[in-house]
């Protein structure tokens, strides 16, 4: 992004505060354009003819430093790149790293279909959603165009996941493209020897293409510059992923260098990056070691700027941490993860069951919830809206107050006097200083629970039911 203040974006907006976008003012909308929580297209007045020039200019200014590239078609299309910062706390990272797991053209049909389905169907529940993987990379190990085409065809028949077509032989790539031309696959790869033919294919079929220059950033940049000049900016850069020793250290620094240059404004190299953790299999014979190292390398380059990667191990012990580290890095660190405020029934609470208060910070909430439910304690648990801040900080910062607790309990239609037999609220130990205020505000008795919800079971034994 070339601009970073709402004021700069505001200058291009209609300035009529028409509220069509849902914001009260154009300035508010401008602020959301800058933090990328709203899209320019949501300002429909800008689509009028008279604003076309400003629209175009603003689009240019708001465009991310690292280009965004789309692969695939339909629902499963993936977007990669699009980042503006080197550190996620500055803005957040966009378009999470795309995971492509490989198949190869010497596989027999049965194994192939089985593997593709395994890749497609892998899922892991996490905070309300399923984590899944994204793509299939078809490698030509045979170097035979016919074989490659038939395997690509089989993959397309089996899944609608986007594809990477992998070969250094333009004949092989062309054969694959003929079969997959409606699928917008990613070509892998142009290198110093085949770039002219691969460029011709990328332009002819209008598909994104990877440029491969192992440990040679001058060459990588030359390739990118040449391809852009020839008419395509749908590029992905692969600086080579060396899986061990000093070469791996160099790989690490290559990724950092390329991304830093791109964010700093070197347009010639500001493209998404590809890592190939699969290389771990070239140095480890034992499948567990290879899977471990592949996961380790995948994690390094999920954290440091890999936008897409090709992987091999489909062992769950490799895939689970890969999916979780990706989720970790692409969670927006500016917005605390929250649960909906309100009353949660744990187990089957009755009028005699305890009433606990906590915050709507997801981590706190889930910790308390699991501590209670795994000990089979029936109770009411209130997640008070603290803007997703944990107990200690919310008490200090005024997001957790007696008034908020009263409001939180009342708004769910719960009546402490009639819905409980004890009219007692249990505050977290870290909110002890609110005790008097909460008693005054709610007219309920207030007990102070333990500082750590892990101690709730022992605490209840001593303190529940409350003494009259």
């Amino acid at each position: 992004m070339k601009i970073n203040s709402p004021l700069e974006a505001y200058k291009y907006l209609p300035g009529t505060n028409c509220t069509v976008c849902g914001e009260q003012t154009c300035m508010a909308f401008a602020a959301h354009l800058i933090d990328r929580s709203r899209k320019l297209s949501e300002c429909t007045p800008m689509l009028e003819e008279k604003f076309s020039k400003k629209l175009e200019q603003l689009q240019g200014l708001l465009a991310p430093e690292i280009r965004e590239v789309e692969i695939g078609v339909g629902e499963k299309t993936v977007k990669i790149g699009g980042d503006d910062v080197l550190y996620r706390h500055k803005l957040t990272f966009f378009n999470q790293t795309v995971f492509a797991y490989d198949v190869w053209d010497t596989m027999d049909d049965k194994d192939l279909v089985e593997r593709v389905k395994k890749i497609q169907d892998f899922k892991k529940f996490y905070v309300g959603n399923f984590l899944t993987v994204d793509m299939v990379a078809v490698r030509s190990t045979s170097n035979d165009p016919k074989k490659f085409a038939s395997v690509v065809k089989k993959v397309i028949e089996t899944t609608d996941m986007p594809l990477v077509l992998c070969s250094f032989n333009p004949e092989v790539l062309k054969a694959g493209l003929e079969v997959a031309k409606d699928k917008n696959p990613l070509l892998y790869a142009a290198n110093k020897d085949n770039w002219q033919q691969v460029a011709a294919l990328a332009l002819e079929y209008d598909v994104p293409v990877t440029l491969f220059a192992p440990n040679d950033l001058d060459l990588l940049k030359s390739l990118a510059k040449t391809f852009a000049e020839m008419g395509t900016e749908k590029l992905v850069l692969d600086p080579g992923t060396f899986p061990s020793g000093k070469q791996l250290k160099e790989t690490f620094n290559n990724f950092i260098k390329v991304r830093r240059a791109g964010i700093d404004g070197d347009r010639e190299i500001a493209y998404p990056l590809m890592a190939v953790p699969l290389m771990a299999w070239m140095v480890h014979d034992d499948p567990v070691s290879a899977s471990y190292w592949e996961t380790v390398i995948a994690s390094v380059f999920t954290i440091k700027y890999g936008d897409i990667m090709i992987l091999h191990s489909t062992e769950p012990y490799a895939m689970l941490p890969e999916l979780h580290i990706r989720d970790t890095i692409y969670t927006d660190p500016r917005k605390p993860v929250t649960v909906d405020p309100g009353m949660y029934k744990i187990g089957s609470p009755t009028k005699d069951s305890p009433v606990f208060v906590t915050t709507n910070f997801a981590l706190t909430y889930y910790t308390v919830e699991s501590d209670i439910s795994s000990n089979k304690i029936d109770c009411f648990l209130w997640a008070i809206d603290t803007d997703g801040i944990g107990v200690e900080a919310a008490v200090a910062g005024g997001q957790l107050t007696a008034a908020k607790i009263k409001k939180g309990i009342e708004e769910s239609g719960f009546n402490m006097k009639t819905d409980t037999s004890h009219n007692t609220i249990i505050l977290p130990g870290l909110a002890a200083r609110l005790q008097g205020d909460v008693e005054d505000e709610t007219g309920s008795k207030v007990l102070i629970g333990p500082a750590d919800s892990g101690r709730i079971p022992g605490w209840l034994e001593k303190n529940w039911p409350p003494k009259k």
């Binding site: 996620r88 899922k123 892991k124 996490y126 399923f130 030509s140 190990t141 170097n143 992998c166 070969s167 250094f168 290198n191 110093k192 002219q196 332009l203 209008d206 192992p214 001058d218 990588l220 030359s222 510059k225 040449t226 000049e229 020839m230 008419g231 395509t232 080579g240 992923t241 061990s244 020793g245 000093k246 070469q247 791996l248 250290k249 690490f252 620094n253 260098k257 010639e268 699969l278 290389m279 140095v283 899977s291 471990y292 190292w293 996961t295 380790v296 994690s299 954290i303 091999h312 769950p316 012990y317 689970l320 941490p321 979780h324 580290i325 989720d327 970790t328 890095i329 660190p333 981590l363």
Partner: protein, 443 residues
């Protein structure tokens, strides 16, 4: 009147081609045409202007064509002749033929605002320094983010392995490594150094917790003495985490370990940190300044340790809290990265090396549970492979955020984490690999 072709468009197109200079071409004067009014324009003037603009456009288009841009196509579409026969029928997206790669040199600037080195802290003392350790370990000293090319990293990462003063509940995959030593902290300490390559040992005095065994500070101190006898590496002494008891326990431990320059774990805002800090200063130890995922709390505690308790700068290590992968590591990672960046950029209250309780990864159900409790999940596979990688990835992420020292439990995790961090550090040799034809590899 057709006027779709505008000078601004042309110049914009030229800009998009990344043309920095046009050799042999001079364009004199500012070409800026300001046509105001609509119907009031004199037709003759309009014609003359139109002629002039068209001439300029043609001239510019010729430049464009010389540079290889298919200008005729553009004119064709601009004048509604797109369907007409093209001189050459170029296929979709045809580009100028380029025979040679365009030369380009990659350059990138080093960071210019990382001016403040991280404090170096030495743990352990040899006989020359009044201790009995065979070696010391120094962490910190960085002038850049870990493993970055901006500045050499002076010290590698270190791993200190956990030893407990009584048997505790552990994930099966961890416990199976310690069955034989679980009742003997000294033997346990020996084992992690000898067999598992631990750089340091952490003795956790958890039995002192009034809710567990309420072992006296004096008895706990004996265990510390035993461990100091058993191993020659620097050690970390951890309390039980009970805020009432820990100050007393760590005071006593600091006393029996006088001169050994141990790391006292931990001073925190929710206990009497002053007592722990005083014990460290008095007996020549280092304090672990522990806060929970909050950068300002970390600053506050460090400030109190320095100003109020007079702990020297070279005797503070921070622990900003480790959450396991999938259990808040997103916070832990960013918190640590922000702390390290702030330190490098000169925040004196945050320029300290960092330690991580990486063992926390074993609290994640993915690391120890036999299988997923959710039937919709894909098979999680064998847990003996899942657990160690959970600890490895948790630690690895934090190492990239700036963490210097890891407190860990599983031997495999220790081995792999050490290998990857030392690889990135640059001290692992491996045979060079040619990956230029990797696609065809039999993998």
């Amino acid at each position: 009147m057709t006027n779709k072709m505008k000078l601004t468009q042309l110049t914009e197109m030229l800009q998009e081609l990344n043309i920095e200079s046009l050799e042999g071409v001079t364009i004199e004067g500012d070409i800026e045409l300001n046509i105001t009014g609509g119907g009031g324009l004199n037709p003759a003037l309009a014609y003359a202007l139109g002629h002039e603009i068209s001439q300029i456009s043609l001239h510019m288009a010729n430049i464009g064509r010389m540079l290889g841009f298919p200008a005729e196509q553009l004119f064709a579409s601009a004048f509604g002749m797109a369907g007409m026969q093209q001189p050459q029928a170029p296929s979709l997206g045809t580009a100028p033929r380029i025979q040679e790669l365009l030369a380009s040199k990659f350059e990138v600037a080093k960071m210019n605002n990382w001016n403040n080195p991280i404090q170096e802290v030495t743990l352990g003392a040899t006989s020359t320094d009044g201790g009995s350790r065979k070696n010391t370990i120094t962490i910190g000293g960085e002038n850049a983010l870990p493993y970055y090319f901006d500045a050499a990293m002076p010290h590698r990462n270190y791993v200190t392995m956990d030893v407990f003063d009584m048997p505790i509940g552990m994930a099966k995959a961890v416990k199976s490594n310690y069955d034989d030593v679980i009742n003997d902290p000294a033997e346990w300490a020996k084992k992690v150094v000898r067999e598992f390559n631990a750089d340091m040992v952490t003795i956790h005095l958890i039995s002192t917790d009034p809710l567990i065994k309420d072992t006296s500070a004096k008895d706990a101190a004996k265990v510390v003495e035993d461990v100091l006898q058993a191993v020659k590496v620097p050690i970390v002494i951890g309390g039980s985490g009970n805020p009432e008891k820990d100050p007393e326990v760590l005071e006593k431990a600091a006393e029996v370990a006088a001169g050994e320059r141990v790391l006292l774990a931990s001073a925190s805002l929710n206990l009497d940190y002053e007592r722990i800090a005083r014990a460290a200063v008095e007996h020549g130890h280092v304090v672990l300044s522990w806060t929970q995922l909050e950068i300002n709390a970390q600053k506050e505690l460090n400030r109190k340790l320095m100003k109020q308790c007079k702990v020297p700068r070279d005797s503070i290590v921070m622990d900003p809290t480790t959450a396991a992968l999938g259990y808040g590591l997103d916070y832990a990672y960013t918190n640590m990265e922000r702390i390290r960046l702030a330190g490098l950029m000169g925040d004196d209250e945050l320029t300290f090396p960092m330690s991580s309780g990486t063992t926390n990864a074993w609290g994640a159900r993915e690391s120890w549970m036999v299988s997923s409790p959710l039937s919709q999940d894909s098979d999680w596979g064998p847990r003996e492979y899942r657990g160690p990688i959970w600890e490895i990835i948790t630690g690895l992420a934090l190492s990239l955020a700036g963490n210097d020292m890891f407190m860990m439990m599983h031997p495999t995790s220790v081995q792999v984490l050490k290998e990857i961090t030392q690889t990135l550090y640059g001290s692992i040799e491996a045979e060079e690999l040619d990956i230029s034809n990797w696609i065809g590899a039999e993998v």
